[in-house]
Amino acid sequence: MPVNLGMARLSDHLLLLTVVIYSLAMLAFAGELAYGRRRTGAAASQQEPELALAGSAAVGGPAALRGGQPASAGSGGQAPPPAQGAGGGQSRGGAADAAADQAVPAGLWVRAALALTAVGLATHVVGIVTRGLAAHRIPWGNMYEFVTAITCGAVLVFLVLVLRYRAYFLGLFVMVPVVLGLGLCATVLYTAAGPLMPALHSYWIAIHVTAAIISTGIFMVAATTTVMYLFAERSAARVAAGVAAGGIMRRLPEAQVLDRLAYRTVVFGFPIWTFAIIAGAIWADQAWGRYWGWDPKETWAFITWVAYACFLHARATAGWRGRKAAVVQLVAFGCLIFNLIGVNLWVTGLHSYAGIS
């Protein structure tokens, strides 16, 4: 079937519009950091109780239990504000992560930024869908389409985190790679809509590539959070040494919060990535006669998987938590990006579907 050129043009326009809207959202998030309401910082001490485990409380999750009070999580040492009995007996929740955030309602900047993000996501999704309609196939068949979809996935994951954990502090930092990625798409990676190669004519493209796209989006958000964590951790160390924290750092949640959020995100993405690899192996078995052949893309997907497994194991090893584990995660993310882009562009193998000559 011939390509529907009108739809293809619409798709291109929508995606350009998306870049603009995301850029505005990015500015709004930056505005929030610069001019938004401050958090009550002290209460956001995140020290975990010594005997408890890494606290199970959701980051800023529903506080039905505590009725909105900043629960003290101190063990010895800390000087939390007195717990306020609020009817119904005394109870303590787990380590309150960004509980103090709940005391501060989302400001205008944040609302504007989130609204822009949501609108941008809508145009993003419609842009992808129209691309698929134009080419009469699932819209991830070449690099341009992959990166577009991955950035969409990342924004989606970010919005999920906002809804679940009120993690809008991630906004600015997630938008940066998203905007960069989309910009790259529109310029360097752009290919016109067209049919798929015969090798890609399979329903597996909906399974394997979709899973890869979703997990890459998740890992992208996790990596962004980890970068923030590293900065926060360094800032906390400097604060402990007596140096005042920088402006942005004071606005962000504690390092522990970021670390835990990043960890949870990776944990969510890891099974999906595993599934993507397995689905890819099943498809390879159908198409190329073997389920694993150490094709460069397969090899790098394996390396990425092992690297993220390293990260998960590192978190379980004392002495490797914190910064070292964060570095491992960033290395793993680097492998992922190389897998996505580097292998397609620079290494030839059976997976060379970049569509770029």
Binding site: W288, R290, G293, L350
Partner: protein, 212 residues
């Protein structure tokens, strides 16, 4: 303290599992990893097997399966039609170097043993079209018939007995229809000659017909 017994059992289980895994992994390690996808400029287009002669002693010889089909010349050839004679079944292709190098040997021995109760039959595999095979026969003066079998179905018939695992391969079938020997690789004059001498000798008499 109470953990000793389960710990010991655990150790045994681990050892057993490791032995199995190691065995499988090591044995699978080097085998079958290198596969090229599709034809490449280095292709000889056939599988060269381990060269050598395998003899089967009398009484331990597998039965040759029935083989029949059209020859390059068009006539029908069947293995069963030569029962009572020693049959030399040679698998060849016109473009195959080692096949070509052994062809004169086969041609000569076929003439030598014609009147001595041996029949040579060729099987022309992996040649597209019969003209090439006919030209090959012409080049080497091969007078014995060759089955035209481009797909190698005659090879299939032998898979349960003595599969010819490469080309060229030659099977020597004795008078009773049992496979006496398999030669993989180019046939050498002396070895095939002595083999035929033994097989075609009248029962009881000593072998040793000199090459003629």
């Amino acid at each position: 303290m109470s953990s000793h017994r389960p710990a010991r059992a655990a150790v045994l289980a681990v050892a057993a599992a490791l032995a199995v895994i190691t065995g499988l992994a090591l044995s699978g390690c080097a085998a079958g990893q290198a596969v090229q996808n599709g034809p490449g400029s280095g292709d000889t287009n056939y599988v060269g097997g381990a060269v050598g002669v395998t003899d089967y002693r009398a009484g331990h010889r597998p039965t040759a399966p029935p083989v029949a089909g059209p020859a390059l010349t068009g006539q029908r050839v069947s293995l069963s039609g030569y029962r009572g004679k020693v049959v030399v079944l040679n698998f060849w292709a016109s473009w195959c170097g080692p096949c070509r190098s052994e062809a004169p040997v086969l041609a000569q021995l076929s003439r030598t043993y014609q009147g001595r109760g041996a029949q040579f039959i060729g099987v022309n595999i992996k040649d597209l079209g019969q003209a090439n095979g006919a030209a090959y026969e012409r080049s080497f003066g091969i007078t014995y018939p060759s089955l035209y079998d481009p797909a190698g179905q005659v090879l299939l018939a032998f898979r349960d007995t003595v599969p010819p695992a490469a080309i060229p391969s030659t099977l020597v079938i004795d008078r009773t229809g049992h496979i006496a020997a398999r030669i993989i690789g180019a046939v050498e004059y002396s070895s095939l000659n002595s083999l035929l001498g033994k097989l075609t000798a009248p029962a009881g008499s000593s072998p040793g017909v000199s090459s003629g």
